[in-house]
Amino acid sequence: MTKIQLTVDGDTVSDDVEPRMLLVQYLREKLGKTGTVIGCDTSNCGACTVHLDGKSVKSCNVLAVQADGREVTTIEGLATNGELHPVQAAFHECHALQCGFCTPGMIMQSVDLLNDNPNPSEEEIRLGLEGNLCRCTGYHNIVKAVQTAAGGAS
């Protein structure tokens, strides 16, 4: 067991964790942050995407101990004071989700993408979301949502 302390969605948390525990397991099982989900066991789907110190990571690909001393933002911490993040709002507006399982990861990845590139082309959006799978939407409206959020932000 290793003791870790980190900030998750603005709160300081501290726990003893097994060295092999993944960040996504820590978030879900220890903290009850079940908004972040697990879609695969090969780091392909991106459903587990969160921000670590402001950059997107696949939380199934990071050990909980690696997050020690750092700052994690999950889908549950994205809205501020009850107001949706512009990317969340754009996903709703553009019908960019159906079952919603990929959505937390997709939104976190899109936020990161727009942080890096506030005015992406369609191609840049598609490439930027390449690590996140969605089986429902065909990505059409997800691309539109990212474009909408970009337009709104600029």
Partner: protein, 816 residues
């Protein structure tokens, strides 16, 4: 403005309402089954056979049992008496050969991935660790892997059955009296017409919903509660009760948030039954969540057919007869629908064309592979692919445009209702209008001109335009039709409307959405029908204790059948409220009008809203003698017919003749799905559906090696397309309202998937047909395309190997 006008101005049906269900999903306030944690909950890990076919000689669980925090380890023998049986609800013939399907067999594993033991531990990680320690002594048996070889009984998947042939199901228009004798039309065409014979491969696909399946069972109440990532909570409850001996009334099944299904969660699974058995045995809540690798190997697969077609036509291209002979791979068991899935395609090979004679047969075959069952479209994509491919071959034979040959043969808009050679009555449609619109959207004539120019100049990059003028039957299904096909259940749907005292409305539906947006669309229907605000309607579903009656969600049935039940229940509420309103208004029932949510006394300004009547009924201080103070209502709707969405999908593909790389340039579709409740949701269904069909054409295949091991057993190898693999689509609609339901709607959930696959493959073949190519097997990998262009064939029995399509943007040289 009067209330009526105000309401009319904000009619809900047809409006692009943003979805009610989004708020939770975009903020992570979700209830996926795997999110559920209960006090004292234990976790399961499954031990799965690594062999496609093996006798289980013994299982040594001692090391696993003593592993940290392991509670118990159970084998098939341990739960033999209470594990139940996995049911096949659709024995397609009386003499169907079908192995008994135990959730956890104790004698023999019949596919790689079958569960042979289960470990129960205090955490999922500890259960998985201990599962590694279970020592199973297998004696490997020869495995029936290849479909055609298995059909020849070379190796038996189940030696005790004596054959792999499960059932031969046929339909013949001559025998059924719905058309002529197909052999006569073929003989005639051989002498003075055209006969086209082709064999197509429908590769095996994996539904690959994004949420891995998960089941939690809590046995600690009077009812045993099961939460499961399922499309079919009602069917699941029935199957558990019917085969485990637990009374149905003691079982509650809940489908909480479900992360996609596409048919893949239209199943009652060994995992669910084992979790149920373990929970009952231990008296503790238990959870099982599969890994993605387990999901790919154990969740049922789809498609997997060989299709032999013989098409007869007159010299001018008028089609006369069609003969279809299918081989369908069941995997090692007859799944819930099992052989019924190809049968669902039986009535669709004739598609929108006026054939005189038709013969269909499907031989279902048992193999030592993962079971197969419904996957988005279920039988109809296979049918549509085959007919739309062979219509292109007919056009090529005659040297005419593929749209011209279709137009010559399709049912004209003034010929509806039209009874097909299968005896189905197509109620409405307009193939001319949808095709005209699609041509306009893609710029058909310009593309043909560019194609001609590229051919003439011998361009390295050739252009192809693919056509798919599809129809499908959806809305499963009239119960009597299902009965006549020996399906084990009905096809009705149930709804109830509860008028709460505060004027809010609860709609309970028997369908079980998992991404389709029913909360929104059904709220729109109720809001319009009852004239209440959209926001005041709450849609409840997916819990057998709340929605006690239902047939769940699949087969594009929810709106066309479930929605009709909603309409009927809402209309009954109005009828029940009417005498109470009349009484309160001191008017005669006959003098009341109901519009925009308000009962008004004709010729006066007196009136009451239905929400006010609900409150008055709750108080029950003042209501007419002889009736109950109760205006809630329910309805069960059994459809009178299927409905038949159709559309024209056109796809432009560029093919690099030197590398075999393909690039999608444009994809347009004009679908006729009747009246639309919510265009935003419809667009989403079309985008997602089209994508899954494109994925079959270009990317996906479940590949097995000779030993029967699934080679594409992870998302690294099974290529679900990413955003970078796809383009944006152009979609539009024509509207021929369905005549078989009040709202005039047709199904849309599967349409895109059914239509798009042949459009894409037709486009690729069209691009290189002048180079002597007339088929490329799916998925159309660069290697296959390249081989086809080189004339070394890619249409035959060519296993998928090597890299599938790279991303369009990565293509070297670029088919730009």
């Amino acid at each position: 403005m009067t209330a009526t006008e105000e309401r009319a101005a904000t009619a809900e049906i047809g409006r692009d309402r943003r979805r009610k269900e989004d708020q939770r999903l975009i903020t992570g306030r979700t209830r996926w089954t795997d999110n559920i944690t209960l006090p004292g909950m234990l976790h399961l890990a499954m031990v799965r056979s690594p062999f496609a076919h093996a006798t289980i000689r013994s299982i040594d669980t001692s090391a696993a049992r003593t592993s940290a925090n392991v509670v118990t380890v159970l084998t098939g023998a341990d739960i033999a008496d209470d594990q139940g049986v996995i049911i096949n609800a659709w024995p397609i013939t009386k003499d169907q050969v079908s192995p008994t399907h135990l959730p956890m067999p104790s004698d023999r594993a019949t596919f790689a991935g079958e569960i042979v033991a289960v470990v129960v531990a205090r955490s999922a990680a500890e259960a998985r660790d201990a599962a590694e320690l279970v020592d199973v002594d297998y004696e490997e048996l020869p495995a029936a892997v290849d479909l055609k070889e298995s059909a020849a009984d070379t190796v038996l998947a189940h030696p005790d059955l004596g054959t792999n042939k499960s059932a031969l199901w046929t339909f013949d228009s001559g025998e059924a009296g719905t058309g002529g004798d197909v052999e006569e039309t073929i003989d005639k065409a051989r002498s003075d017409g055209i006969v086209i014979e082709r064999e197509y491969r429908q590769q095996r696909l994996i539904p690959a919903f994004m949420e891995p399946r998960s089941t939690v069972v809590d046995p600690t109440g009077e009812q045993i509660t099961m939460w499961s990532a399922t499309q079919i909570p009602h069917v699941l409850r029935f199957a558990l009760a019917a085969t485990t001996g637990v009374p149905e009334s003691k079982i509650r099944v809940v489908a909480p948030d479900v992360g996609g299904g596409f048919g893949g969660k239209l199943q009652t699974t060994p995992e669910e039954f084992i979790t149920f058995a373990v929970a009952r045995r231990l008296g503790k809540p238990v959870k099982y969540t599969e890994t993605r690798s387990e999901s790919l190997v154990a969740c049922h697969h789809g498609r997997d057919q060989w299709q032999k077609l013989t098409l007869a036509a007159e010299k001018d291209g008028t089609v006369t007869g069609l003969k279809v002979e299918l081989l369908a791979d069941l995997g090692s068991y007859n799944a819930l629908l099992g052989g019924g899935t190809p049968v669902l395609g039986a009535f669709m090979f004739n598609a929108i064309y006026k054939f005189q004679a038709y013969h269909f047969s499907v031989q279902t075959v048992l193999t030592n592979k993962t079971w197969t069952d419904a996957y988005r479209g279920a039988g109809r994509p296979e049918a549509t692919f085959a007919i739309e491919r062979i219509m292109d071959e007919l056009a090529a034979e005659l040297g005419v445009d593929p749209l011209e040959i279709r137009e010559r043969n399709w049912i004209k808009h003034d010929e509806f209702p039209y009874t097909t050679v299968c005896g189905l009555e197509y109620d409405s449609g307009n193939y001319e209008a949808a095709t005209e619109r699609a041509k306009e959207m893609i710029g058909y004539d310009e593309l043909r001109a560019e194609q001609k120019q590229r051919r003439e100049s011998g361009d390295r990059v050739q252009l192809g335009i693919g056509v798919s003028t599809f129809t499908e039957m959806c809305g499963l299904a009239p119960s009597r039709v299902l009965g006549s096909l020996d399906y084990g259940a009905g096809g009705w749907e149930h709804a109830s409307v509860r008028m709460l005292a505060t004027g809010k409305v609860e709609l309970v539906t028997g369908v079980s959405p998992h991404g389709q947006g029913h909360e929104t669309a059904f709220s729109q229907i109720v809001a319009d029908r009852l004239g209440v605000p959209f926001e005041d309607v709450e849609v409840l579903h997916g819990d057998t204790q709340v929605a006690h009656k239902g047939m769940d969600t699949y087969g594009s049935r929810s709106l066309v059948i479930g929605g009709e039940a909603v309409v009927k229940a809402a209309d009954r509420v109005i009828e029940k409220a009417r005498p109470i309103a009349a009484h309160l208004l001191e008017a005669s029932v006959d003098d009341l009008d109901f519009a925009g949510g308000r009962f008004s006394v004709r010729g006066t300004d007196q009136g009451l809203t239905i929400q006010e009547v609900a409150l008055a009924t709750f108080a029950a201080h003042n209501y007419p003698e002889g009736i109950e103070p109760y205006i809630d209502a329910e309805a069960t709707y059994d459809p009178i017919n299927f409905n038949f969405p159709h559309g024209t999908h056109l796809c432009a593909m560029e093919v690099d003749t030197e590398t075999g790389a393909v690039r999608m340039r444009k994809y347009v579709c004009c679908d006729d799905i009747g009246n639309i409740i919510n265009p935003l949701i419809v667009a989403g269904q079309v985008h997602g559906g089209v994508t899954q069909g494109i994925a079959q054409a270009l990317f996906e295949e479940a590949v097995y090696d000779d030993a029967g091991t699934l080679v594409s057993g992870s998302l690294v190898d099974y290529l679900v397309p990413t955003a970078a693999d796809l383009i944006s689509f152009d979609i539009d609609h024509t509207t021929s309202p369905s005549l078989t339901n009040t709202l005039g709607t047709k199904g849309v959930g599967e349409a895109g998937t059914i239509a798009s696959t042949p459009a894409v493959v037709n486009a690729i073949v069209d691009a290189v047909r002048h180079l002597g190519v007339n088929d490329i097997q799916m998925p159309c990998t660069p290697e296959r395309v390249w081989k086809a262009v080189q004339g070394v064939g890619a249409g035959g029995d060519d296993p998928t190997a090597g890299a599938a399509m790279p991303h369009f943007d990565e293509q070297e040289g670029g088919a730009q």
